[in-house]
Symmetry: none
Subunit: 425 residues, 2 copies
């Protein structure tokens, strides 16, 4: 079946925001074995939006629209979809109740125009929104379908994963019978080109297919098979996943769809009953924040420190004044003392330190912006690594945190595999 993505929003046409929703949906749809030939961005304009929808309905089976479901006057995706298929908008009691309790729970006053969000075209399937007030909507006419989803990524993504994926998977697909099954092999600590060079032979396969997706500090390899039933499809996927695991070894941190890199690290800590503490300078808490994304982290997370200033590094982690004076705050010596000091302070089994220059200022010839040192203490031994990251302040910090999670994982694995650590600093 052919799906077409339509993103609605003047802010996209003005370039105020980047269209990450389209990339998210495109990747998910590809994973579901749906073909996608067109993506369109159109503004909050009834006539133009209707035109785009009519054109899309002529060439695609499923339209997925995002955005324009808000309470304001210029949110008119729902109204336009109803117009295109001549449907009346009816008040949906269930959605209205959910919206009312959404405001009540937060002690907020619900304004009149929020009720607009509970209006749905007749004959629609209503999809609950657990993260906002605009419900998702599925419309069907013959073989054609129109799916309306909220624009905010933190509302769109869970709704798509939890409700739309199962719906799309349940659809009959005449020209391509059977089902699609895919598994993702997630690799950390390796660049995309390096990963690709290892799988050139596999990329030419047709069923299953292997497709690489570059993420920050990670590469995901999606293995997708089509077969009469899931059992058959799994049988096609299994040997390829096994082959990829053997090729990439411990760089593969999971093959589970819902396991993130921080989740894999927390699982590793839990499995080995290791406690962890963090101490961060340039990343300012981002590493701790990612670990604490994981429910149940309380079992292992002792405490975190943000020591952005030299004074804090000394006061909290006991970094020696001499070390800071002689080598500077961004040095392997400081990173090591931060990690060891935090181990002494918190008695955690694992501690991790990050100190670097995120820019835009503070760089120099010998210590350029993007230079970051990280220290990882595991049960008595501390390893320090030097990194060089590119990009602006935000990009450098984001990439640093992914590298930190990868390094923490490697250090723990090395400790248990009894391998000797790299050159001590």
């Amino acid at each position: 079946m052919v799906v077409e993505l339509i993103s609605v929003g003047t802010e996209l046409l003005l370039g105020n925001i980047v269209n990450t929703n389209a990339a998210f949906l495109a990747e998910k749809c590809a994973g579901l074995g749906l073909s996608c030939y067109y993506q369109t961005v159109v503004g909050d304009n009834r006539e133009r939006l209707a035109g785009v929808m009519r054109t899309a309905l002529e060439r695609s089976d499923i339209l997925i629209l995002t955005g324009g479901l808000g309470p304001t006057q210029d949110d008119l995706t729902k109204e336009t979809a109803a117009e295109v298929w001549n449907r009346e908008l009816k008040m949906d009691g269930h959605s209205l109740e959910r919206i009312e309790s959404f405001f009540k729970e937060r002690g907020l006053e619900m304004t009149e125009n929020n009720k607009k969000q509970a209006l749905v075209p007749e004959g629609a399937i209503v999809v609950d929104n657990d993260n906002g007030t605009a419900p998702g909507i599925i419309l069907t006419e013959g073989e054609k379908r129109i799916i309306l989803l909220p624009g905010p990524p933190n509302e769109l993504k869970p709704m798509f994963e939890n409700s739309i994926v199962p719906y799309l998977n349940g659809l009959e697909n005449p020209e391509e019978p059977g089902i699609i099954y895919s598994k993702t092999v997630k690799i950390c600590g390796m660049g995309e080109s390096k990963v690709e060079s290892e799988i050139t032979d596999l990329e030419s396969m047709e069923n299953p297919t292997v497709a690489p997706y570059a993420k920050t500090g990670e590469v995901h390899l999606r293995v997708t098979a089509r077969a009469a039933d899931e059992k058959e499809a799994r049988k096609k996927v299994k040997p390829v996943v096994k082959e990829l695991k053997s090729r990439f070894g411990s760089a593969v941190y999971t093959t589970e769809e819902d396991v993130t890199l921080e989740g894999a690290v927390v699982d590793l800590l839990l499995a080995n009953e290791l406690t962890v503490s963090t101490i961060e300078s340039c990343t300012g808490g981002m590493l701790a924040a990612r670990l604490i994304n994981i429910p149940g982290v309380s079992e292992v997370f002792k405490s975190g420190y943000i020591t952005y200033s030299n004074k804090a590094k000394r006061k909290i982690a006991g970094v020696k004044k001499g070390t800071l004076d002689k080598y500077g705050a961004v040095s392997p010596q400081t990173a090591k003392e931060m990690a060891r000091g935090t181990a002494l302070l918190t008695k955690a089994d694992v501690t991790f330190s990050i100190t670097g220059i995120a820019g835009p200022d503070g760089g120099s010839q010998e210590k350029p912006v993007g230079l970051v040192y990280m220290g990882c203490y595991v049960c008595g031994t501390t390893q320090v690594k030097e990194f060089h990251f590119n990009g602006n302040r935000a990009k450098i910090r984001e990439t640093a945190v992914s590298a930190a999670l990868t390094m923490m994982r490697q250090c723990i694995l090395e400790y248990y595999s009894q391998k000797t650590f790299g050159k001590k600093v």
Copy 2:
């Protein structure tokens, strides 16, 4: 004049990459006063690309295409453009020389298919590419224009800035003389529908226009005017911005394009020479991380603590065991002791505490998931607020951090406006 953006590339349709080029070009074109009503993504497919171009030529004056100018067989944007306007492809000696020297300078061997990149449609304006091998191409037919640009952002962006912007600026624009100027009024601590209900009268204006954009914990109102020159446009925008400021008062945290909420908070701390420390439980460092997004925060940021466990809350912030036992970790009493304890510990002028239930587990009838208490200490006085956030763990934490920045800002403003604080806890 109306411009339309067409991004060519199967990798975009598969979601392998995010379409940042479209956002870049859209913002630049808006800045040039060009209207843009449609953006399209289409794959490396001659027939579909030609169809998209023909449709775009019917409704827009200028087509800007990116991607598909590479040396390989599936790069066919140039060939398709030539086909749409029945132009012959001719070898461009100048471009061929540049491509040859590009390879020579880098000590690389030039393959036969790179010569393909020097083929240009007859009558084309060739735009040199200083960062790659594919030249840009400008085609004109009557009042219509087709501009072909390379896909790699590091080639596209400088080429657009240096060659295409001057070209577009030089074009006569009969029906819409003059330029576009816009200013954004950024509001925190108010929902989109609440903001919307305050400006319904302004949303019907045509020049300038007022458009709301919902962000997490914020609403941005963009005021956009068209006029003969920037001076004129500014004159139209100014009174509306003034009106919005008076309507929303201190909820307006900036009217500067590049100032974020955390930036406004850091500016407020800097302006009043206040130091700040944070102590976070469920947000696990996200508040500190956002403050540290801002270069120069080192002037004001003392230290941050992540006390996810009760033990850490006691050990680091000195929260009383009795308080934790009697009221629990998620209580106004604990939030207050966390903030005050951090003030004692770090001697910061401002300290901020967050403790809550991010879920999915840990909720109860009287303390549901999403319940968060925040404490803000400002020079001796501590204010505590109760919040109820919705959504999954990630959404609750993200929303909590925006609310925290808003509350910190309000508390500091209240302190200086000598207003009395809310009900003490």
